[in-house]
Symmetry: D2
Subunit: 293 residues, 4 copies
């Protein structure tokens, strides 16, 4: 990245807001930003219902010398706007990219696709590490200059494995992405990890929740197969959906062929969902996502 780009990035911020909908929110927010000298370069909003619903806002803005103005900006926003409108809010600074950890099992297609996009500068993040219950991907990951940790998930040692993973992640990551990690994480792990966890499921949810979706898709004789990226919650494959896509299949395709075709959708949907998360485009509300994509 050039110095010029660095400087621009340094002056860039994203504001995320969620609050009860009422008159004057945009005017108040835009008014303060304008007063502070910021230029709004992108803005998305959504209301579940203008009368008594919930309002969501994502604004990207540019402010010369943002670094020195951050404290004032956040303080005044909190005092003058957030309290008045009962907002949940945060400001995110692209100059401080999120730290991502990847968990993977044997199949490498989601992992490699994401690492490759990261290397070419399409994913705004640092990659803290890759953790796998198999050693298979070690060499590929090394080629990207990313730390790789092999944490076996033997039957009976799940608690120990999760503790080891938590030890590797603690304080070092802002988001975890499961790039076809075939172990089910315990509720305790999800609580203790303390950051969002994104999963890619190899079906068009809510069809084929759980194991063996391609086999079951074949049995049901569907004409399209899909993949779904979602935030992980305690209930298996029931978390808020971030993104989905599908591909056409036919009676000629065996379950193995469905898995091969599906791999292309999985990696695309997975990379897209992670990218949107990293760019603060996804807000969660009542187990659904608002995707300002």
């Amino acid at each position: 990245m050039t110095d010029h780009a660095d400087r621009r990035l340094a002056d860039h911020a994203r504001l995320l807001v969620s609050c009860p909908d009422r008159h004057g929110i945009v005017a108040a927010v835009a008014g303060l930003l304008s007063e502070l000298g910021a230029n709004i370069v992108a803005s998305d909003q959504h209301s579940t219902d203008p009368e008594g619903g919930r309002f969501f806002l994502r604004m990207e803005f540019h402010l010369d010398g943002l670094d020195g103005a951050r404290e004032e900006l956040e303080r005044r926003f909190d005092e003058e706007i957030a309290t008045r409108f009962a907002m949940t809010w945060r400001v995110s600074y692209p100059s401080e990219p999120k730290r991502l950890a990847l968990l993977v099992s044997r199949r490498d297609h989601c992992l490699l696709d994401l690492l490759w996009r990261w290397r070419r500068g399409d994913l705004p993040c640092e990659i803290a590490c890759v953790i796998s219950n198999h050693p298979d991907c070690a060499e590929s990951v090394a080629g990207f200059g990313v730390p790789f940790h092999h944490v076996p998930a033997e039957r009976g040692s799940k608690a120990a494995a999760e503790a080891q993973i938590l030890g590797l992640l603690e304080g070092r990551v802002d988001v975890v992405a499961l790039a076809r990690y075939m172990q089910i994480l315990s509720d305790e792990f999800l609580v203790r990890v303390g950051v969002p966890v994104i999963n890619i499921h190899h079906s068009f949810l809510p069809a084929f929740v759980g194991a063996g979706p391609y086999e079951r898709a074949w049995e049901r004789g569907v004409k399209l197969i899909g993949a779904t990226a979602h935030y992980v919650t305690a209930e298996l494959d029931e978390g808020p959906i971030i993104e989905q896509d599908i591909q056409r299949v036919s009676h000629r395709d065996t379950p193995a062929e469905l898995a091969r075709i599906g791999a292309d959708i999985e990696r695309t949907v997975f990379s897209r969902a992670v990218k949107w998360h990293l760019e603060d485009r996804i807000l969660v509300y009542e187990n659904r996502t608002i995707a300002f994509a």
Copy 2:
């Protein structure tokens, strides 16, 4: 249609075969057709497994003077081929288009789309009649010169209504298509009607079986909605899938908007599935379809 086209149609036939897979089937079938002077103009085949699986074949062929040769063709095929390979088979003659009945409730999008394709010559069938439990579509149907029957489906009179429908259909149709008919047909009806029944379901099956799929899609927060055309069996929304398609939606779309967007997919999938059925492109095996489309 011109005389020329009529003559070509008259000499055209489709052969549908299903049998245990083994060596020499294509050679035997093609050999007989060649002997009889037929030219194979299209051919599709599928085997669930070359070793011990089931084999499916669809051949379109052209034979000058087919009308006079039909009896010999069918007799020789039965004697020389079908018995030898333990085939289930039939020959279908495009010069005898299938007779289609349409059942509909209030929403007219699937019905109108199909009638309009039929009028412009894209659907090779006769339309015997349209039957509805509401009078709403009567005028539209009249515009196409198709008989319309209003058979109310009041609570408690279902058996009588189904009997009346059966009376209208009996001996007059080769296939029934439910163009968003919102009544569940009884098992007895399905047995007595004696012809295939095609339904369009407004979800991407097996997701959202049953009532209210758009509301449930909205609740689950899916990013794509779909429609599924399938043959009706005794088990609700569980019959063999003929065709499916999807459309992208977002957090902005209310359930009503999903229904509006979905209507476009429903009519497309419905018309495509009916067309394929009319052209003998769909074979059913173990609750899945082989779609030679």
Copy 3:
């Protein structure tokens, strides 16, 4: 529509703005709307370049008693905002739906699709009339209760035909849509008609500009065919593109089959583009469109 919906529509407006980009635009606009008591229910913005580019804004807002407040709203917006930011702007009121005229030749698929959607309440417009150089669609149009005018386009009488069409349209329409109207409109017509004209072209522009796109697509052996809705300008098929879509085809498809498959894309793209125009979602800048869809 219920009284309740009418009342809501009556209090609804859309603001469209285009101006040089600079700090404070959103704050100023949102500030005035807030002062007037309006609630912004949707907002989209785009900047070609935050430094020295052009800024585009579409805001939907709700204001109780809008009817009585319109004059003040427009006057204050002009005086306090528009002049300051050198804006091109307009406010559009959904309670005054646009008046649409449709021109068509023989093929009815785009016309009927649009009329169906309009009858279902999906297209917010009045349909002033349908004009055709052939009588073929007269009966279908009559079924919708829409006036139909047959204006033949004989060789040599083009000027007279165009004059007759202008006479039918003058002062009665806000937008004209060419639903597969196979006559090229003269530059003079385009100037004199004085309202936007939307065309549907049966190719994926800029591929296959001009006549016979399906034949030429077949000759080139493309694997996808498309359709393009665009505003008509003096240069044939070169106007700003509103929407495009494609469909997969194969070596099996003859030019006639491409035309049949393409009809489905044409009508979808056409209806979508007209709907977006009617909802004031399309802004034109330097022969491209900003589509707030």
Copy 4:
């Protein structure tokens, strides 16, 4: 691959036929295969016109002990069938995978996608080498255990560079694929290389032939961008199209963003086209392809 899979592969063959259409072709071909004890496991056919057109056939068959029977099979096919029907034909043996060379410049997305698929066993070929006019991809290629050759393409040394490339390829490859190789190959090169050359062009051909397609797509304001895989002929971007696909874009996307989005389509279309070629699914006729995909 297991021994079992190896054995099955060894007994597998593909027959490709092109000839004037007439009665009895399928019967004759299937008859001979049946006589020889082969089982047809897949069959596709196409006729440009049953009356006086050209006929194309692709049959996959299985024959126990094929290796020992190849000579007899080919001899009898030539003598008994090919001559009689004036066929152009060949038999291809999956046990002898094609040898592929890849040419690439700086952008690695098509190259890596193909190498990943190859490593996973999805592409039935040997990769002879990767040749590039830049050293950038050397390390990535090394990770796959594939030879990499850097052949600079300086201004004025084109003939020498092409001669060097020809020296590397001569007698060692069955197909060449240009994975975003940004040099135009001379007619002489195409003649001397003597094997098919597949190119990926970053537009939806025939739109945006030549240089800078994303910039030109942006200027024209298209709403979809595409990629096209085609066989290279002397005329730039005019060779037979193997496969195409598109992706939706919007007014928000800059040319750089179009290139980023387009990279995903390019690699998908490229890998698909190369795979189909390797599986003998593509026949060329009059600058179009018959794609038995």
